[in-house]
Structure formats: structure tokens, C-alpha cells
Amino acid sequence: MSFVTAVSAGAVRAGTSVMYASLGEVIAQRAGITNLGVEGCMLAGACAAYIVAAETGSPYLGIIAAFAAGGLFAMLHAFLVVTRGANQLASGLALMFLGLGMTAFFGRPYVKVQITPLRDYAIPGLSDLPYLGSVLFHHDVLTYAVFPLAGLLWWFVFRSRWGVMLRAVGESTESAFAVGLHPARIQYAAVTFGGALAGLGGAQISLAYAATWVENLTQGRGFIAVALVIFAMWNPLRAMVGALLFGGAVALQLQLQARGVGVSPLLLDMTPYLLTIVVLLVWAQRGRDAFPAGLTKVFRGTG
């Protein structure tokens, strides 16, 4: 397999879980709520998916469980922040630690259990295409679903009436309220949906990519997803690109090593954060324009 093909295919594999989480966080932040607990939502999804897949024998039921678990977890954040006006940063971090502890506890009996993982499907006709076939058309259903989802969410945010409502709430809950919207409801929905997507990202790791459950399975990918939202300037399609860049950095270093070229894995692990810093430096002004004004209220909930 050629170098470019191998790295591109790896980028899609390693980027998918982060892409789900990042897309979810874009939606939440578009409603003016920062959820630093994405990592916890991913873990909740990964763990719930694995448990359900182990108990029922069906990884597809696991996907549903992940969506629900990630969503419920994020709903806790919405409750604290929207209903109770808690500090968004503190609530999000607490959610992350809660997720880590709870999944470690409930997941423990399943560490030794094996599941039937999600199958990779080669799409007939397309999977034999040069380059694209290997990169895009040998994956599990969650990987196939994430690309159309990114496009759909872009359309939703920028082209649909609901997107206007979502963005209005993210800019100013007061103005949105004044034109007759229910800001709290919209924020609940956005945060919960965001967590549900993070849950799917976790499930992609536990059901397909690693097909295994261990404590802290996500290893900080939830925080990379949050960093990518800033890189993406709250645009779902840019989040997709960011996640692929992250996945590409992972795949690049592993492929270089597999070819006997020495690179420091520690250096390349910094890539997503470096990208974010570069974006902050270069596009500072444009970033400010895209920034949902409601996010300035992180310290006092939605106040």
C-alpha cells in the first residue's frame, strides 16, 4: 500500500471518533454552552456501547446505547448550567471526572469480556477504486455515517431555520427570548445532542476501532475534540477537516515508524494542539467573528 494511501486510510480510522465528538461540541457551543466534559460523554458512550453489545450480542444495539448514554450525561451538564446557572468550566470538568470514575466502575466486569465488533463493510464497486477505495470504502457503519453527518450539520447550522434559532440563542439568549424563542429548551437540546454524538465517537472506539473496553479507553480524545472546535471556528465542515488532520497526524507517525523512519511519537501527539494555537494566532480576527457571543458567559452558566 502506498504511503499516501496508508496515511489517508489511517487518518479516517483515527479521526472518526474525534470527529463525532467535535461535531457534537460545535452544536453545543453554537448554542452558547461550552462542554468540557466531552471526554466523559465519550467514555459513557464507549462503556455503555460495550456493555450492551456484550449483553445482547449486538453491536448495533450498542450504538443506540452509546447515543443515549452520551446524551444523558450531557443533559446533566445542561441541567447544571442552563437550569442552575453553574459555572460551565467547573461543571464540564466535573462531568469528565464523573465519566471516568463511573465507566471505570461499571465497565470493570466487562474488561475481560469479548464482543462481536462492528463489521467492516467493503462497498461493492467503490471499494476497488484506486486510493479512494482503501481510504473511504472499507469501514464500519459509524465511520460511513460521520461524513454525511458533518455535511448535514453544516446545512443545519448555516442553511436551516433551526440553525438560525440555534445561532441566535448562542449569540444572545435575551434577544432570542425577545423574538419568542425558548433559549433554555434549545440549549438543552443542543448540549444533549452534542453529548450523544460524543457518545457515538466513544462507541466507534469500543465497538469497532479497538473493539475492546479498558478504563479510560478514550485517552484524552475528548479534549482534542474541544480543541478542534476552536480550530474549526464553530463550523462542522472545518471540524471534519480538523479531525482528519488529527487522525492524519496519528497515522503519519505510526506509518513512518512502520517504515523504519524515526520520528518522535511525543512530538506528533502535540499536532492537534499546535494546529489550534496556529489557528488562534493566524485567524484571531476571523475567529472572533465566528465566536458565538454567548460563550463569554462560561463563568456563570447561561446567566
Binding site: 483515527a14 447544571l80 472506539i205 505510526l254 515508524q257
Partner: protein, 388 residues
């Protein structure tokens, strides 16, 4: 809207409480402190530890860098803890997921507050914290797994897993069709380099064309990254996987899915790879842990670097998979016999590194274990660079 910051504080407190309860539940779930209160004055194994010394309960603390059911490194060490718990008048305390940082010092101090007089910090990076805590508590004995230095009250123990990896290399060298073996490892510590080198030397002893490609993941347990590493090795034609990871399970499954052969580590993982399983270097710490505890309790323990080998039974080869044919099994058994008798020395000269430079001169005997554990190079035939 318009909620006072006061509320925020109160609700945050609530959340903190929920969090604390959650963490407590986890702690309770994982902390099985077992205590043997039976009145037996001495155990037969305790030997010299007679009378007053062993009538008192000895509290022993075990630190693990991961979970004790990780199907790997920590699980193997935990089996040793379970054996220690069977001794009379012993109470074991365990702490899982202890990072290799100042956090480990706090955990050890807590254990000492609970009366621990013997502590097993079982991860490589727990050594410096143990030495630091040891300076404060000279009456506590620390028995560190894999450490390369000692202190007044800090001794170490480890086993020559590389001997088993040499034998696994024979199975791998025979099994490979592409002559490309892969090794997915966490960090370039010397014991890892020893394992890689021994594996390559074992493979080359039966297949001159065999090479071993190394991939570093810079994480003791990231199953997703391990899986990705396996796929990248597969893309380069590698068809046998070996690992130095705390949780090799995901890698074994990924290799099986990709139609590769697999060598495990720490514990038998054959169930994960019914077709491609070859064997694994595994640990059996039970006897050593019990011996060490008895020595400390009996006052006969002297700080040292205990190094056990296959001959001591601390390092074992896991059962072979069906991918290892009879003649290869026989060959491995014969080689193992030579190894145990000392007739075969894996690192006897000449040993050349990747650049072709001679690191152990032709005709030279295998260096002592403590000097082998300083290994900082990869041997000829290993592909990949040691990251700095």
C-alpha cells in the same frame, strides 16, 4: 435565566458530592482489602519469621499503574498479590491507576498511614516516588518491580522476560511468510529494548531473513492507538505481531482480524486469537512475592536487585496456539532446555547494533543481567529508531 451566582456555588457543591460518591463507589469496588485473622503463629513458608514478628498483622501495599484486570502487566502482578494475601496475618491494600508521578508518593504515604510496612510499587515509573517516600519512612520496605537502582530501604525485582521472547521469536521466525515481524511497544525503556532484541535474535536463529519493525505508541495502554499501529504494520507486509504494552488485548484482536500471527505479553491471550496465536512471555510472581514478604517479615531481607529467569519459574512461555506446528514446538523445547542449563546464552557475542557496530565482542560471554538491563540500542535486523 438571571440566576444568582450563589446558586451556582451551591449546585456545584451538590455535583461535587455526587462526584465524590461516584469516586467512592469506584474505590470501594476496587479495594478489596483482605485480612487473614487466623491464629496460626507461623506459616510453614515463613520459616525464620517466628513468634512475635509474624503474630502481628503485616500490612502490605500494592500500587498498580493500571487496572488489575487489564489482561496484561498489572493483572500478572495482581496474581502475585493474591498469593501474598493467602499468607497468615497479612493484610493487603491495593491502589490501581496510580500515575507515575508525585501522585504515587501520596498513595504510598496513605498506605503507610494505614500501617503498611511493605510496599510493592509495581510500575517502572513508581521507582523515584518510592525512593523519595522511603527517605521519609526508613522502617518501611519497598519492593519495586523492574527498577534499575536501589536505595537504603528500596529493593527491586524483575524477571528475564526476554528469555521467553527469544523462544517466541523462534515461533515467529518459523511462522512468518513475509519475513517481516512487528513489535508494538509503549516506551523505549531498556527492558523493552531487551525484549525486542531477544525476539529478533530468536527469529534470526531459525530464519536469517527475519526482520523486526518497531512502533512506539508513547502510552502504556491506548487500545485505539495499538490497533492503528497494527494496521500500519500490516500495510507494510508485517505478518507477526509482538507487543510490549500493559494491555495487549486490543492488539492481539486487531492482528487476528488482519490475519496476522500474534505473540502476547504478560498473560495468556490465546482466546483472543484462535487462529493466529503463537505464544507469549508471561509472569508468575506468586512464589517470589511470597518469598520476599517472608524475608522482610523475618528480618532476613537485604536490599538487592532480584532478577529471576525462566529457570526460576517466574517467567514462562504461554501455551502454544495451533499455528505453531509440532516440529517447531519441539525445537523451542530443545532451545529452552539449553537456555535453562546455561548452554545457550542469548546475548553472547558477537552482538551488533543496527549500525553494524559490535556492542558485545565476538567470543564474549553474555553480560550480567544488571548490565544487560542498561541496554540502549537495537540489534541488527530490527527496523525503527529509538525516539529520544
Amino acid at each position: 435565566m438571571g440566576i444568582l451566582p450563589l446558586h451556582a456555588g451551591r449546585w456545584l457543591l451538590c455535583l461535587a458530592t455526587v462526584l465524590a460518591i461516584g469516586l467512592l463507589a469506584v474505590a470501594c469496588g476496587s479495594d478489596d482489602e483482605s485480612e487473614t485473622t487466623d491464629g496460626a503463629a507461623t506459616s510453614p513458608a515463613a520459616g525464620s519469621a517466628s513468634g512475635a514478628a509474624s503474630a502481628k498483622t503485616t500490612v502490605i501495599g500494592f500500587l498498580y499503574v493500571g487496572a488489575v484486570d487489564d489482561g496484561g502487566y498489572n493483572q500478572a502482578a495482581y496474581q502475585g498479590q493474591l498469593a501474598v494475601e493467602k499468607l497468615p496475618n497479612v493484610k493487603a491494600i491495593k491502589a490501581e491507576n496510580v500515575p507515575e508521578s508525585a501522585e504515587a508518593e501520596r498513595v504510598m504515604e496513605q498506605m503507610i498511614q494505614q500501617g503498611a510496612t511493605i510496599i510493592f510499587p509495581t510500575s517502572f515509573g513508581h521507582l523515584d516516588p518510592a525512593i523519595k517516600v522511603g527517605e521519609k519512612y526508613p522502617n518501611v520496605t519497598f519492593l519495586h518491580q523492574g527498577g534499575l537502582k536501589t536505595a537504603k530501604n528500596v529493593g527491586t525485582y524483575f524477571g528475564a522476560s526476554w528469555e521467553a521472547n527469544y523462544l517466541a521469536g523462534i515461533a515467529a521466525g518459523k511462522a512468518t511468510k513475509s519475513n517481516k515481524l512487528g513489535y508494538v511497544v509503549a516506551f523505549p525503556i531498556s527492558q523493552t529494548l531487551l525484549n525486542i532484541n531477544a525476539f529478533e535474535l530468536g527469529a534470526k536463529s531459525v530464519n536469517a531473513a527475519a526482520t523486526t519493525t518497531v512502533v512506539f505508541t508513547a502510552n502504556w495502554c491506548d487500545p485505539a492507538k495499538i490497533s492503528e499501529s497494527v494496521k500500519n504494520l500490516k500495510a507494510q507486509g508485517v505478518d507477526v505481531l509482538n507487543q510490549h504494552q500493559d494491555c495487549p488485548g486490543a492488539g492481539i484482536q486487531a492482528a487476528e482480524k488482519a490475519g496476522m500471527f500474534s505473540v502476547g505479553y504478560h498473560v495468556d491471550g490465546s482466546k483472543l486469537a484462535p487462529n493466529g496465536w503463537l505464544t507469549a512471555a508471561t509472569w508468575d510472581w506468586a512464589k517470589l512475592f511470597v518469598d520476599l514478604v517472608n524475608q522482610v517479615r523475618g528480618g532476613t531481607y537485604k536490599v538487592s536487585q532480584v532478577r529471576l529467569s525462566m529457570a526460576d519459574g517466574a517467567v514462562k512461555l504461554a501455551p502454544f496456539g495451533k499455528a505453531v506446528p509440532k516440529d517447531v514446538r519441539d525445537q523451542i523445547a530443545a532451545t529452552q532446555a539449553k537456555l535453562l542449563s546455561g548452554q545457550l546464552q542469548i546475548f553472547a557475542g558477537p552482538i551488533k547494533d543496527q549500525s553494524g557496530a559490535e556492542r558485545i565482542a565476538a567470543g564474549a560471554k553474555q553480560p550480567e543481567v544488571t548490565s544487560l538491563e542498561q541496554m540502549n540500542y537495537l540489534v541488527e535486523g530490527v527496523i525503527g529508531k529509538i525516539p529520544n
